[in-house]
């Protein structure tokens, strides 16, 4: 007896999209209502998952499994298998929430080709959920790619002046990553066939978990690179990030919210779900680790610096994402429980805060149709509520304690520090700079007197707009004040992953020893190659029963 809640959550938006197809496109309000209905419905339907998951949060492995292996395309060993653990659970909740919010937020923003817009948006929603739920690599890849199309259309059709450029850039960039990843996937698939006994072809991720780590280092490194590029582009990490500002600036508000809130997380999710378990020997190899960490650190500082100098609000927020995601990757590749937990938390937080920031920018844009910071000033005189909400979200984004941002950032710093104190030291300026660019932006936009006559007539937030922020603020406060539940949800999977890396990399230590050194920045090579051994945290095995008792 399987529970089908995942499938239900997954396909609700799609059903909505299909339903919309039968609504005449002239009847815009009906379309809006239906779309919001389904989006909100999708969120509500995902709520029962919370208690169900909470009950078994400490149990090992994936929960709510659906489908048997190979039940979809037996002849190639692909199956419709869904299942979630703590990590994907949180991201799914985030997705349903943000999906609803962004659809709600585009009520007045979208005026032409409304029907299409909502249809594509709901399709996108399903695609994203699928990525987080899939336990089958083929299924995963299908969702992963299918999701690009609606996003591309959202940018390209409802985007700004340079939408065509941005849309194609987005699509090509991300596809470049995913095709390389495809080759990697195929290799894993084939490798599983060669080593498994009896020989079977399967895309089942749990199965591949068993065999992938057996790949010898000198091949695994290339596979890792293939996956890495795919995910790093998505995240985006430092040298691969230039699609992000363009996509964000051109995308409609809701598109940006989803893009920043969920799509970027797929990269980090990919790291956590695939790169780490599949290539333990590679990720724990000091040079490789240093490579990635250095990129993350560059991303943190660099993103912050660039956003400091932006003249376009949305670009500023976009670059701030680069900085924040730098923290996420830093946490992931610290390869210890704290770092990993913090990273996932930070992904959620970034989804909440930055999503809100894009909404905020969008609201001004909707009223004035410009995002030039210079156009504004003294807005808090005319839009006090708006100013207050903005302040709260800025604070959460810059990581003020008792708001969500701090919890994630701090946990990451803790993890990075215990892995290698130099990393944390390098990341710390990012926190300062975050305050700098956000507060400076706030000063330029909200403080002072209204200088621009066009801004005098701006009306404050409508109830609908306020409604879009309420859940975000609630979440921000919740994670900030009482993050314990989140830590508990993440505890099991994170410890699992770290444990695996530890064991496997020890197993492959021999291989590590004699392998030719991976090219890496020499500077990075020095950084803390000393404590690599101690990067890994051994969580206390067993005790699950005891913990269950404790939790009930």
């Amino acid at each position: 007896m399987q529970s089908h809640i995942l499938s239900i959550i997954l396909f609700t938006p799609l059903v909505g999209a299909l339903a919309l197809l039968f609504v005449p496109k002239e009847n815009k309000n009906a379309i809006r209502w239906i779309a919001n209905l389904f989006a909100f419905g999708g969120f509500l339907i995902s709520l029962p998952l919370v208690p169900m998951f909470w009950a078994q949060r400490f149990e090992p492995g994936f929960k709510f499994l659906e489908g048997t292996p190979n039940n979809w395309i037996p002849s190639i060993g692909a199956g419709y298998n869904l299942g979630i653990d703590g990590i994907s659970f949180l991201l799914i909740m985030l997705t349903t929430l943000l999906g609803w919010i962004s659809i709600l937020s585009s009520w007045t923003a979208i005026e032409n080709r409304v029907k299409e817009y909502y249809v594509w948006f709901l399709v996108l929603q399903t695609g994203m959920l699928g990525v987080f739920m899939a336990l089958d690599f083929f299924l995963f890849f299908v969702f992963w790619e299918a999701m690009l199309v609606p996003m591309y259309l959202l940018i390209g059709i409802w985007g700004g002046p340079r939408k065509l450029y941005a849309a194609i850039k987005f699509f090509l960039y991300t596809l470049l990553g995913s095709v390389l990843m495809l080759l990697g996937i195929l290799y894993l698939y084939f490798h599983h066939h060669t080593v498994s006994n009896p020989q079977v072809f399967t895309f089942s991720i749990p199965e591949l978990y068993k065999t992938a780590p057996l790949i010898p280092f000198n091949i695994a490194i290339w596979l890792f690179v293939a996956f890495f590029i795919g995910f790093a582009i998505k995240v985006p990490m430092f040298p691969f990030h230039t699609w992000l500002p363009d996509a964000h600036v051109e995308a409609p508000t809701a598109g940006s919210v989803i893009l920043a809130g969920v799509l970027l997380k797929m990269g980090t999710y990919g790291f956590v779900r695939f790169s780490l378990p599949f290539f333990p020997s590679v990720v724990s190899h000091p040079r490789v680790q240093n490579w990635v960490i250095v990129l993350s650190l560059i991303g943190i500082i660099y993103g912050a610096l660039v956003s400091l100098m932006q003249k376009d609000m949305k670009k500023l927020v976009a670059y701030s994402s680069v900085s924040h995601l730098g923290f996420c990757t830093l946490g992931i590749f610290a390869l210890n429980s704290a770092g990993l937990t913090g990273s996932v938390l930070q992904q959620i937080n970034h989804g909440i805060s930055t999503g809100a920031l894009f909404l905020i920018v969008g609201i001004l844009y909707e009223r004035r149709h410009t995002r030039e910071i210079a156009e504004y000033g003294g807005i808090s005189n005319v839009m006090p509520i708006y100013a207050t909400i903005t302040m709260i979200m800025f604070l959460s984004s810059m990581g003020l304690p008792l708001l969500n941002g701090f919890v994630g950032e701090f946990t990451i710093l803790q993890g990075a520090f215990t892995a290698n104190w130099k990393w944390a030291a390098w990341a710390a300026p990012g926190v300062v700079l975050a305050a700098a660019y956000l507060l400076w932006l706030y000063q330029r936009v909200f403080f002072g007197t209204v200088t621009n006559a066009k801004n005098e007539k701006l009306h404050d937030l409508t109830p609908r707009e306020i409604l879009t922020f309420v859940p975000l603020i609630i979440m921000a406060l919740w994670i900030g004040l009482y993050p314990k539940p989140f830590f508990q949800i993440l505890e099991q999977p994170v410890n699992q992953i770290v444990q695996n890396i530890h064991d496997k990399s020890n197993a492959n230590a021999a291989v590590n020893a004699q392998v030719a050194p991976v090219p890496g920045p020499t500077a990075a090579a020095e950084i803390g190659s000393d404590e690599v051994g101690s990067n890994l945290v051994v969580s206390k095995p067993g005790l699950t029963a005891a913990r269950l008792k404790a939790s009930n």
Binding site: I73, E145, L148, Y152, L153, I168, L172, L180
Partner: protein, 492 residues
């Protein structure tokens, strides 16, 4: 035999009926042709139902109706059916509505069937020529259109030239083996040293013919011209059915006939594959004529399929790589039939009284004028670009898988990178359709037949993409030939 005979009868019948049908009722011809296709499909189905695993020999051992053949027959018929549906309205617009069109279509299908089923070089050659000649005429069918004439003439000259070279090679093989039967040729060849100059010359000349028909660089230059000049409905037909037939022939000869020589021809094919992908993709990048663009893209697709063929040629018979490569090409052809025909059908529907409709600008704002067609066109384009869940991905999946399995990581990477090029120029069309303002306003009139054609193609594309299991099954089934005795004997 039955399906071919039956098709021939219909072809001739249509010629007769055409004399009696008045102008404006010409669609009756189309109907007849369609029915003919259906009938022969039924016949094929009957044969399939009574087909032993080892296949049926017929016609003095020159014809081997095995699962492989059956698979391709279905393919040709599907292609023909969709093209017929797409043609009616178009021909009316062009004022070239004649029965010959359909009968030639059917005859070319007969030729293809011979190519797919023949294991005797004579039969294969005859089939080839039958198909080729009918296509020459079809390409030049718009007699008052200079582009059409010119395309036909070029196609004919080059085609004849290539088949001359091809025939020369075949004659040499006959000389080597003393028989025209592929099986015997294979045995004889395997007896010879693969580096015997005569063998090599024979092989290379033969390959010129084969590569010409599948339009691989450097034998591709006829394709863009012919595709551009031909009636759009025929362009679609050529790009799928003719190409599929050429592939069938290529398999029959290179795989079953000349397998022992693979050490000689695989390296050559590697070069050709790379050249094909490179040339075609780069050339397509800046195309502004949609038909020509799709022509180049179809050449590029040939490049990918050749990659799979390389994987097959470099791995053990019956090994995973071999089978996956084989499946890859077969599925690719299947999928390609639908998605490409669909795309061409949409382009065909752009042809109006006063619009030629094959420029990129004619695509502009198509969404405003025909939302359904535009959306489906998007589907076809994405499928061509190999984005799941559209069907195109399945073919790419198998091809790259086979490359990985046979250890050609470099080629695989090259292939995926070129697929990005593909995405780029397909997106140019998509951008034009969905994101630009239309040139002329007003809804685009689309005929019933066209709607059916596009609909069927789209349905197939999405179904194969989302639930490919039965199709993969059928492909596996059609791979029965690998076990069938004649070939097996040859391949050992």
């Amino acid at each position: 035999m039955l399906p071919m005979v039956e098709l021939t009868i219909f072809a001739l019948g249509i010629l007769l009926i055409d004399l009696m049908v008045p102008q404006g009722w010409k669609w009756i011809n189309a109907l007849g042709a369609f029915v003919g296709v259906l009938f022969s499909a039924v016949c094929v189905w009957q044969i399939q139902s009574m087909l032993p695993a080892r296949g049926l020999l017929g016609f003095y051992n020159s014809l081997l109706v095995d699962r492989f053949a059956i698979y391709f027959w279905y393919l040709f018929l599907a292609g023909a059916a969709i093209s017929i549906l797409a043609s009616v309205h178009y021909l009316d617009v062009e004022n070239e509505h004649h029965g010959e069109y359909y009968s030639l279509l059917l005859l070319s299908v007969v030729g293809m069937m011979c190519m797919a089923a023949g294991i005797d070089i004579v039969l294969i050659f005859i089939g080839l020529e039958l198909m080729a000649i009918s296509t020459y005429v079809l390409v030049g069918f718009l007699r008052r259109d200079r582009r059409s004439n010119e395309a036909a003439l070029k196609y004919l000259l080059l085609g004849a030239f290539s088949s001359g070279i091809f025939a020369y090679g075949l004659s040499l093989f006959y000389g080597i083996a003393g028989s025209t039967n592929l099986g015997i040729i294979a045995r004889a060849v395997s007896a010879q040293s693969p580096h015997n100059p005569v063998v090599v010359i024979a092989l290379l000349t033969t390959m010129v013919g084969l590569l010409f028909k599948i339009a691989a660089v450097p034998f591709h230059q006829w394709a863009p011209d012919a595709y551009e000049g031909a009636p759009t409905s025929i362009t679609g037909f050529m790009s799928v059915a003719v190409k599929a037939a050429a592939w069938a022939m290529l398999f029959r000869i290179l795989l079953f006939g000349l397998w022992p020589l693979r050490s000689v021809y695989v390296p050559v094919i590697v070069i050709v594959a790379i050249a094909t992908m490179t040339g075609a993709n780069f050339a397509a990048l800046t195309q502004t004529n949609t038909k020509r663009l799709l022509a180049y893209s179809s050449i590029a697709h040939v490049g990918y399929m050749l990659l799979a063929f390389v994987a097959m040629g470099t791995s053990q018979l019956g090994s995973a790589a071999f089978l996956d490569g084989f499946k890859g090409i077969l599925i690719y052809l299947l999928v390609y039939t639908f998605m490409n025909l669909g795309a061409f059908a949409v382009i065909t529907s752009l042809r109006q009284r006063n619009v030629i409709g094959d420029e990129l600008d004619d695509m502009a704002g198509l969404y405003k004028r025909a939302p359904v067609e535009a959306t489906l066109m998007l589907l076809f384009l994405l499928s061509l670009a190999g984005i799941p869940p559209a069907a195109g991905f399945l073919g790419k999946y198998y091809i790259f898988l086979s490359l990985i399995e046979s250890g050609h990581y470099g080629l695989a990477s090259l292939g995926v990178l070129y697929s990005l090029f593909g995405l780029y120029y397909y997106l140019k069309i998509a951008n034009a359709m969905l994101m630009r303002a239309p040139m002329e306003t007003g809804r685009l009139p689309v005929s019933i037949g066209m709607r059916c054609a596009v609909g069927v193609a789209a349905l197939a594309t999405i179904v194969i993409g989302v639930y490919p299991e039965p199709f993969i099954r059928s492909v596996n089934w059609s791979l029965g030939i690998v076990q069938s005795p004649h070939v097996a004997a040859v391949l050992k």
